[in-house]
């Protein structure tokens, strides 16, 4: 039939546009590489055992070499292996924070934008308050009151992150609320749930996905910053931020100990940012930070 063929060609066109966008392609390649590295870390890591508190005094502070591409740390563990496992932590952090914050923020944004009235007032004032608190400060406060660990750090970040998605979805919903197809759906008697999730939400998806991609980079960076400050992941779990913090003690002689995990953070953050920028061009969405 003609229609599926046409849709296929539309997909091919999108792919064509995507493949012509160097930013997007490089970003996608980096993200894919990092995800694969994290997923297959146990297979790829030359020293999978070095994830934990293994000590090998003979191998302490070795510079990068063939057997240790990123060198070794102060207790003789292979930094490359630990970076691969560190990506697992970073990506899980992003997945959990965004996996909770995005659906939550989206639903609130839809409700505030579509219903207006008191629900709009309450929700949007709440986002104003949440936006006034820097995530790092929030995380510091939460981990100070509770205890410094990954769960609490994620909790703190999640508690603020939804607001950005609420704002984004709210502004799109506001413009779509009186769009003819939404009004037509109301007239034929479609349910509110249908209008919110089937008529409006699909039109927010490209903007949300651009934002989620960019967010991954930010959340990973924020998580690393918290770990660097000793408020996130606790040793011996391999975390990029913690590794930078521990390695920083051995500067400048053993520079690879903080620099390699630092570059790993830069690499993944850059990947998500490039991909997000590329998707923004591809989807032609504006106003997404």
């Amino acid at each position: 039939m003609a229609a599926p063929a046409q849709r296929l060609s539309a997909a091919r066109q999108n792919w064509h546009r995507f493949s012509r966008n160097p930013t997007a392609v490089v970003g996608a390649a980096i993200v894919l590489l990092v995800v694969l590295a994290a997923v297959f870390a146990p297979l790829l890591a030359p020293y999978p055992g070095h994830v934990g508190a293994v000590v090998d005094f003979r191998a302490r502070h070795h510079p990068p070499s063939f057997s240790h591409p990123f060198g070794t740390d102060n207790i003789g563990r292979d930094i490359f292996s630990r970076v691969l496992f560190g990506y697992r932590v970073s990506l899980s952090l992003a997945a959990v924070v965004l996996g909770i914050a995005v659906p939550f923020g989206t639903v609130l944004g839809l409700a505030a934008g579509y219903f207006g009235g008191w629900s709009e007032t309450v929700i949007m004032r709440a986002t104003d308050i949440a936006l006034a608190i820097p995530p790092l400060v929030m995380a510091l406060a939460v981990t100070a009151v509770l205890s410094p660990n990954l769960l609490n750090a994620m909790l703190a970040i999640t508690a603020l992150w939804w607001t950005w998605h609420t704002r984004l979805v709210y502004s799109i919903t506001r413009t779509l609320r009186h769009r003819e197809y939404v009004e037509a759906a109301r007239l034929i008697g479609a349910s509110r749930a249908h209008i919110l999730f089937r008529e409006i939400l699909p039109n927010c998806v490209s903007a949300i996905s651009v934002k989620v991609t960019l967010d991954c980079g930010f959340v990973i960076l924020l998580g690393a910053s918290l770990s660097f400050l000793g408020l996130g992941v606790q040793p011996p779990t391999p975390d990029l931020g913690t590794m930078v913090a521990t390695g920083a003690d051995f500067l400048p002689d053993d520079w690879w100990e903080p620099v390699m995990p630092g570059l790993a953070i830069l690499f993944v953050t850059l990947g998500f940012n490039l991909l997000g920028d590329g998707l923004r061009d591809l989807f032609d969405v504006e106003d997404v930070r």
Binding site: E180, E183, A184, A185, R186, L187, G189, N203
Partner: protein
Amino acid sequence: MSDSPLLELDAVSKRFAIRGGIAGSVRGHVNAVRQVNLTVQRGEVFGLAGESGSGKSTIARMIVGLLPPDGGTLRFAGRPVVQSRAIQMVFQNPGASLNPRRSIGQSLSVALAAAGVARAARRHRIADLLGLVQLPADTALRYPHELSGGQKQRVAIARAIAVAPRLLVLDEPTSALDVSVQAKIMELLVELGRSLGLTYIFISHDLSLMRNFADRVGVLYLGEVVEIGTTEALFGRPAHPYTRTLLASIPVVSAAEARLRPDIPLIEGEVPNAADLPSGCVFHPRCPYAFAPCTDQHPAFTRAEAGQTARCHLLAGDAASVHDMTTREQPA
């Protein structure tokens, strides 16, 4: 009971706040629709004509229940108007009336689901509906961006009739389309109206279209109905000077018509807007026949002929005066 009107508007008004400034404070109001009275009989095509900004869409949105009036009442089959499947609308802009992220089949399916059609029967009914609006059945698999404006408007019509409405409000259904497509859509609407027993409210600024399609016509000027009459009366002997100026802009069919055609010297000047209404008769600043009462007295509806009334001071004394004044000087 059956000859009571299907729709009645009684002194319906709507005004919008104009917001501006940093705090978004209200700076004034647009009186988009003022004191509109009209009745629509079962099975008729009621035309609503007027320039851009005269309040046509605002009236349409109040009729379908998307917008509450600020004053007056709207009654449908004797009851206050509420949003219901019995009253549907085809929107002005076909580009925005279908969800770009949903296939045509999905869009129609929602309407059928809302009308209580069982899931199993929907696929079949979608094909039927597409057939009714003369589109191939595989249109269901397509997305709006794959369709032309005319095809989109056909889908919008199919969606509206899917819920078996009694009244269909057509808000300039063809103004965004090519003339050739326009004619086909109008034909389709005429046919559907007859076969489904629909009552139409047909909104347009295109008077030749109006003349061919409508049974009765109301003319809007700055949110006010200035004249209502049967198509025959209104186009044959327009009673309100504004109607006459409107008619002067449509192509004529015969030499006899050309002779009847008024040559109205419209007064130059700014067209007043609904935010800053003139006193008295709203048309007086542009009316070549304006006289003393027009500047400060709002004219009441006056019967011009059988089935034709207009808001004009000229009619108060002698029903034929406008007509006479405008044709007198014409070279025979």
